[in-house]
Amino acid sequence: MDLSNVAIVGSFETDLGIVADRGPMALGVQAALGAIADAGLDASAIDGLITCNSLVTPVMYHAEATAEYAGLTPSHCLSVGTGGGTTYTALRYAAAAIQTGLATTVVVSMADSMRSFMTRDRAMAVQSSSGHPHFEQPYGPTVPAYYALIARAHMDTFGTTEAQFAEAMVSSRTWAHENPTAQYRERVTVDEVLASKPIADPLKLLDCSIVSDGGAAVVLTTRERARDLPHTPVLLKGYGEGHHYEHISQATDLTRSAAVDSGKAAFEQAGIEPSDIELAQLYDCFSPALLIQLEDLGFCDKGAGGDFLASGATRPGGALPVNTHGGMLSHCHPGNPGAMFGLTEAVRQYRGAAGTRQLAHLEHTLLHAQGGIMSSHATVVLGRAN
């Protein structure tokens, strides 16, 4: 659906990384109220709130409880749950509510505390629960193992190497080094990634995203209302989704994901091509996920993702800056809200407030998130108001 009447006018990130003094609900509320203040709005202006549930302390009515805690009394409350794809799915439903007149000003707020409030046993139980309860979980797969199945298939099919997967973390840390809020900022080399602890062959510890606490929120409203607000609005130019399967054992092609569909739809709606994208904020839960998204979203040919990563194209000064905040490999990954920080960083880039990471020119940004095991995909194209 056409979302041309919708603008992102507020954006906020809480303290990130290790935040032991407050839990996920508090972080989500802090994010929501911070984004409302950033938008220059009063809480009474908010008539919609969309959140995702916490994996650490799930509650039955999550958005409603968030509104209650924050003192908001919106007309619309919705908690969404599509795993890592949650962020941009929620963004689209918020935008659709505004576009259709169901709501005028909607907050999308997400937070969790995977680092400080989750035990290792609970974390392992949650991650294995993404598998089929009768036909996958009994075999003890871990989430890294699921992505390892994809990585292995890509290596077997296209000759991709472990050193090429390692380039994902090298690129991530190069950006994170420039971001004071990133949880891990120390640069790494390919050799250091290859020498890191084996987790699920061929993936090592430094092929895997980090575990964090943190929250982030954005405020969306009509373009008309955005004219009276302090920040130059960021517009939603295109959106697409794709869903080919949920369980990895049901995938018909391990090396080609439904990001092909979600990206195509988003580009078509925005009326642009992959070559028009100047910033890509991708879902880097594991190095092979990043590599395959680069291919499936059309930034390089199928099978060429390893060469593309190794070329340095995604690093500072490269042809396609990817995850300028450091991504979930280095900056912040509190679970389902992980991709929120790709969005808040994009807003920061549009505002010229990204410090030493600032891109000289930015018209079109691509955001991508995925849930499941490369299963559910959501792609957003952002642009400037002209």
Partner: protein, 130 residues
Amino acid sequence: MAGVDQLNQVYFDGVAEGQLRIQQCGDCGAQQFYPRVVCKHCGSEHSQWIVASGQGKVSSYSVVRRGVSADFSAPYIVALITLEEGVTMMSHVVDVEPDQVASGMAVTVAFRPVGGADIRPVFTPALASR
């Protein structure tokens, strides 16, 4: 087993008898796994159970170095096995050193306890490839 419905129980009864059961559509003839009340290819509700040959190939695998729980002693090999009937299932490859497993490897079903719990279908290197 908790949450196993009547349909899935047919599969697990097969495992208890040393059979790997998959569904074949009575209308379009397509096979599917996991069991469903409808054929995912044509929507027919006339699926029948057949006993798979138990021969297949490793389509991808991972040697898990950090086990999911204390019940799973690492390393263990999680694999996607494509049966010769054409359907794919998750399983373990056993009776092989981790550095000897490879995609495309021919495997044969066996029935063993998995994760210190129930008997499950797992796969061993096929005789010809040993």
